[in-house]
Symmetry: C2
């Protein structure tokens, strides 16, 4: 029976007949034999297949095999005398399924730059690094579901097309049935766009079902062509009823520990690759995060630390500013040297829905900063007091009529509640060490680019 | 410590101090006591709280409690003498967290029509039926991930914004940065829209990593105001390399069995509600599907069965037509009386990517029909032969230049592969018996409606 290579390498059924299907990574000839490395995507490792010149199609086909060809192989699994592998297959039969013309196939044995690979996003998961990213991303996503479901959270599919703009930043893509520049009637009866966050709608479900989470795509029509921005990215947003900022931070920290602990075991082989070729010290970094509790500091104390810093910043520091990436990284990388939760930001720089603290000038917000990335998580306790929320919305210039449904949550059985958002690509970057966010999502959408 | 009601009802820590937080469903006064039913969304069941008039705030607050108020309660868990419940809480302390003015609150003790509840989509998950739908939907979604992940499938987040139109039906929403009717530059360099299916991009990953799946939102700008259509809905799309139609059907059937078996155990209480109030015989129907193997019939044989039927159809039957809902339901409900896999449809009514059979006039397609719903799954083996695919694309009027990336998958290491799509809302309908698709997604998007 056909087996995935990952299974064969784990089970190692020595001296039995096995059958695999996959793609040729390399072929090397030596005397009366060819050594063929086969990968099927189930794991990073290839399996070595030894083909002797006694095979019928040795000269006519096997010696033509090159990178990218697909094959179906039957043979016997044997202990391998070679270094770096326990087992190998001695082939009885090798069938070519599909060829890959070496003159035309863009992926060759040599290493390719990530910039080059981005231009062939339909072939790049066939490389070691991008295949490993795909496996890590999938496992992290699954762990997110397991973490929340094991704790009784309900997943809510909040809408992608929406008429609400949570952040109010005016960076929403518009959705229409007319081609650009042409007029058409509004399909939804009025202007609708792509969501920037599922939070407001997740609050609806938290105020009904208690603990909920979303995990879906979000969008920003922001003309930023940087290694940190995507027009389309995935967000994880839990929302908990009867929960304050403290409880919120605990869930975020527990989740991070859970995800990292799992991935270091489940994707150990893939992480080794990143540790070796992408970010030296990656495994040590992740191990430290798993072992340590996160550090905590208020925004006000953080600003004091920045003012006292010997370091010169590009953006001057004073109470009231939004912390810049350089400030965040200094705090988490140089002062605390671990993930850092910054709390209680000035109300003026945070959105209307965050709960106003007793001092009247800060809100119950938290950002989690991590070394190498900066902000990974942003969250808050939400304003549950109808009157306070209403006046914050008026201040922010929000149409109360439009958001009556959101106010209703405070009008009927309001409760303290809290939640956060975690950018999934930032998390995958943190775990893999990939420098450019375009490498950690299968088909990155950026200004000027959505090729398929 | 505060506990979710679901946990309390399972663990039943009798004669201990407990603390709960939730929303009042009803209050009934009797002599010197009030009986208050509390729900916190963790399960369908309420817990009964008994408040005596010796509590400090009995007259001033507790006797004002009504449907929708949020409360925090401390007390002792006792065996209950009442019918239909094992335990109840004898309250020592009841704090009101949030009120819900009974004159204004739209949800009262009586039953509300689903039509009415659709107008208050921000409050409807607070009802028994819609809360149960949310729990079932969440659990089914989790089971989908578990099914695939346990079998080594990699989840791929295929793009939402895309320049490819898998179905070629011209029903894509357009995505722009300009308001409707105004012109603006193309953010992505050319016209882009919302995906109708992740299949083509999932094929990219199957041809790299073997077995993959997507689970994400898809869109149709179709002006259909029916109980079966949504403009935004979620799809599950596995894609398997080295897999033919047979293997494809096996995965689909295994998945259905896995999902139904799990949900009948995990959400037994919620399904009882649907069985009682929404679809009589629901549990029996689901039980039968779990026990039976699916029936199989070719399209050609299905047409023969329809031609021989004693029944009169609105749409006349002949070889070559697309089966209508009435035909599908007759076959699955009256002829086979179980889920039915129809295979090998005429090439002329199926998309370009389906593999042409040896007869030259049918393709290796499969639809799975289920009683009460009709088509639940649609899938096929994909055309892996470059030349055949290319001529099918030319016939279909597809720009080969635009889809060169898709053709490349057949140019470099092509392999037989197959996959299917399952509409997640249809599945939730099948499991809950809800008649209108707008009840099984939190915030339905339909022509003229995207209220928040």
């Amino acid at each position: 029976m056909n087996k995935r290579i990952r299974t064969l390498l784990v089970e190692q059924p020595l001296n039995t007949k096995v059958s695999i299907k996959g793609w040729v990574r390399t072929r090397r000839d030596s005397g009366s034999f060819s050594f063929i490395e086969i990968n099927d995507g189930s794991c990073l490792a290839n399996i070595q297949v030894i083909a002797g010149n006694d095979l019928d199609n040795y000269q006519s086909e096997i010696k033509q095999l090159n990178t990218g060809c697909s094959v179906s192989i039957k043979g016997e699994l044997k202990e391998s005398p070679a270094k770096g592998q326990d087992v190998e297959i001695h082939a009885n039969e090798i069938c070519i399924v599909g060829l890959a013309d070496p003159e035309a196939y863009p992926l060759q044995k040599k290493r390719h730059s990530f910039e080059f690979l981005r231009e062939i996003s339909h072939l790049r998961p066939r490389t070691n690094a991008l295949g490993a990213v795909a496996r890590v991303r999938s496992r992290l996503g699954y762990s997110v579901h397991r973490f929340f479901q094991e704790r009784g959270f309900i997943q809510v599919h909040t809408p992608i097309i929406t008429t609400s703009d949570c952040e109010g930043a005016g960076e929403m893509f518009q959705v229409t049935t007319a081609e650009e520049g042409k007029s058409g009637s509004h399909f939804f009866g009025r202007q609708a766009g792509l969501t920037v966050s599922g939070q407001l709608q997740a609050e609806v479900y938290a105020l009904s079902l208690g603990d909920v989470y979303t995990f879906g795509p979000t969008f920003r029509a922001e003309n930023s062509n940087t290694s940190r921005h995507l027009a389309e990215f995935w967000m994880i947003e839990p929302e908990m009823a009867f929960c304050d900022l403290r409880g919120n931070m605990r869930v975020a920290e527990d989740m991070m520990h859970y995800l990292l602990e799992d991935i270091m075991v489940s994707c150990a082989e893939d992480l080794e690759l990143f540790n070796k070729f992408i970010e030296k010290g990656l495994l040590e970094k992740l191990g430290r995060v798993v072992e340590q509790e996160f550090a905590h500091v208020t925004y006000t104390d953080a600003v004091d630390l920045l003012l006292k810093a010997k370091k010169k910043f590009d953006y001057p520091v004073q109470w009231g500013i939004d912390l810049q990436s350089e400030h965040e990284r200094y705090l988490t990388e140089e002062v605390f040297r671990r993930p850092l939760v910054v709390t209680d930001y000035p109300a003026t720089i945070k959105p209307f829905y965050m709960r106003v603290n007793e001092d009247g000038r800060t809100v119950a917000a938290m950002d989690i900063l991590v070394p190498g990335i900066g902000e990974l998580v942003g969250g808050s306790q939400r304003e549950e007091r109808y009157d306070v929320l209403e006046s914050r919305m008026v201040e922010a210039g929000i149409d109360l009529e439009e958001y009556q449904w959101y106010l209703d949550l405070r009008r009927y059985g309001t409760v303290p509640h809290a939640g956060f958002g975690l950018g999934f690509e930032r998390l995958v970057q943190f775990v893999t060490g990939m420098k450019n966010i375009r490498e950690v999502i299968p088909f990155p959408r950026t200004p000027g680019s959505a090729p398929c």
